[in-house]
Amino acid sequence: MNMTFELSYEGKKRLVIGGVLAAIAAWIAVDAMAGGAEHWGRVFVRLPLLLTGQGDGWPITGGFALNILLSIASMAVATVLGTLLGISTLAQSPYLRLPAFFIMNFLRNSPWLVLLFAMLFILPFQVEVFGLRIPFPPFVKAVIGLALPTAANLSEVVRGAVQSIHSGQWEAARALGYTTPQIYRHVILPQALRRMIPGWMNLYALLTIATALATVTGIQDVLTILNTSLAMESERVLVYFYLTTLFLFFAYCYPIAIFARRLERAVKGDNI
């Protein structure tokens, strides 16, 4: 009975990562026994607060859940804006194309934090539309502030996807008498959509990471709660709080990034 234990290269790598994680777990355990358990206890008590903004964990008014909500809302806005912007950069008319390029480059060259602050102050605290008063709470400003740079990046993804479609598709559609909007609607966008998805997912991961910045708008996101909690806890505990928050972001964003990369590989052979 000869048992050969041959692991592939990938297998060995995974073993090491597993080992590293195990070592971290061991370190935490040792530290816990040396008194760190008390600190982890403090984190555990505060965890519902960190996650949902309420000590009891319900209802969801803030915390990491707010970050996720912010990322979803912002991504929705960014998707609409980004697609429109991307198509505009492909327009025939320079009156549409050049301003679109300018806006896109301006937004891409702006730091996310500065844009967020700018939106805080540029956008009014309420708008009057048709006699209706619509309030613009900080959350909405954060949604817009984060959506703008994401839209600019998305417009590049859209542009790349549309341009990757073989020009023969355009020729055939034009020869059949389709107008340009029709071509986008029936021929190009349905095909481009598949190629946009990995880039879209990557941007979503980036956006979620950027929601950490929303703390400057004052909304009760996980970082704001972290900071207010710190005022109430001792110094030593804070490290554990920081580590936990870092882990929250990692746990959410890493799977998304991995999934996006896998999709990218699947879509790669798509050029017809």
Partner: protein, 238 residues
Amino acid sequence: MFGLDYSWLADPAYQNWLVTGVINTLELAALSSSVAILIGMLGALGLSLRVFWLDALIEFFVEVFRNTPPLLQMLFAYFTLSTLGLKTTDPVTGLEVPLLSAFACACISLSLFGGALAIEAFRSGLETMPKAITEAGRSLGYSRWARFWRIEVPIASRVCLPSLTNILTNLFKTTSQASVITVPELMYYAGQIYNDTFRTLEVMILILIIYVVLVSILSYGMSRLEAYLTLPGYGKGQ
């Protein structure tokens, strides 16, 4: 114009702050970018050795830094290294001051963040290297190190340039987040100015424009570099 009041710009104190802020931003960006590129090259070299445990560790490092917010990384670095970290006695006041200033913490944090991105960029650059070139190098008798340095790096760096430009502009923009940990760069001084003058809208617009201009200059510079280094005919229609 538009009812915006920029009269405060005439004050030399504020001008001074703005200039200091820009200089510190440039310093922070330049320093962390350099270290990041160094980390990137070392990491990519390490990955090219195909040692499984090194691969795993580098991957671990890269994924952690890519999938967590740089702001949080900086806060953590500032807190642990500065507040809880090594302290030294200030000879003048006799008080305990942190050894690492906010600037140093931001630098370390940004370098690691940028380094993670750079490793990823250089790795994909080396990966797209056609096997034929490495084989040619080996058959000509180049040692592994010489092959890496003299053949692969020059070719791969051309391929990496667009991603590298992305990383450098990303790092530059991220320096603005160092303001949260009180690093006296441009964004920080912006806050100081509008706390003083209450002209928040005007200040933010100006700061935004300054950043966009600086990043655009960086972008343009990189594209000139790209054009200068382009290998004629390489990479097109492969």
